[in-house]
């Protein structure tokens, strides 16, 4: 039977040990499928607009100030179906 390594940290739901906030955030924020046309509102206190996979994330304020295209669909109550599909 191999000697258990003292250096190894195991954080597993099965062992009832806590996953750290970092583990969880890393997975929910990064792993998982992305749905185009969805609206991501804010992250870490900064309002973000996720316009699609090809577009750089920018703050809402910056986007509103500097982008020519009116971002009327930044308002979450406006349906995002106005966006062109895919």
């Amino acid at each position: 039977m191999p000697q258990p390594s003292e250096d190894l940290v195991i954080a597993s739901a099965d062992l009832d040990q806590e996953m750290t906030l970092l583990d969880i955030l890393d997975h929910v924020l990064n792993a998982g499928v992305v749905i185009r046309g969805s609206l991501v509102i804010s992250l870490a206190g900064v309002d973000l607009v996720f316009l699609g996979l090809d577009v750089v994330l920018t703050s809402v304020e910056t986007a509103l100030r500097h982008m020519r295209t009116p971002l009327s669909n930044v308002n979450p109550s406006v349906p995002s179906s106005k966006r062109s599909p895919q």
Binding site: S5, L8, I10, S80
Partner: protein, 216 residues
Amino acid sequence: MAVLAYCITETQPEITAPRKGVRGTAIETIRIQALQCFASQFDPQDLVGKAPIQEAALDFNRVLQELLQQIAIIPVRFPTILADETALSRFLTEHQAEYSEALHRLRNCVQMEIRLKMQTSTQPPATSPKSGAEYLRGRQAQHQHIDSIVARFREAAGPLAKQWRHYETAAGIRCFALVDRNNVQAFLQQMQGVSVPTESEPRVTGPWPASEFLKE
């Protein structure tokens, strides 16, 4: 009304949805043939600010884990909020074939992860290289050193890892093993036997949804 999407699963076998979603919302399912997507009606304004977001993320993870205990899931990235259920149905229909195939292939599987705080870029040469060839061979040795540590974990997993992936990120090496859901304990036991340099700070987590193995 806007909806927050959690994950996609097959409709068989029948599973129990968690009673509460993020911020105490009810969880509903949107079905397209043999697939279903779990979602909650959600006001995006509820996510403004750092504290609500982190709270919601933990809650979101709880929902995913409760479902993962019952069935294979394809998680949706957090936070994903769509205009309405129709948008979600449309998305599901578009990806139906792809997700059905993946969920069928990943039935009874979960993903285990190993993180190592090692980076090829920060491995300095053992001695000052005197030539270009010596430099490159020194760098090769550093790469091989890291590869050999990864290999220890992979070997320890043995047949318990049906599939394996690893890559280097800014934060270090990440390894992913696709494991049968009934083998999680056995896998963890095998990982405990691996000896590694202390500074690599190995960390094993899981089970997670098999997001690294969605594509064949």
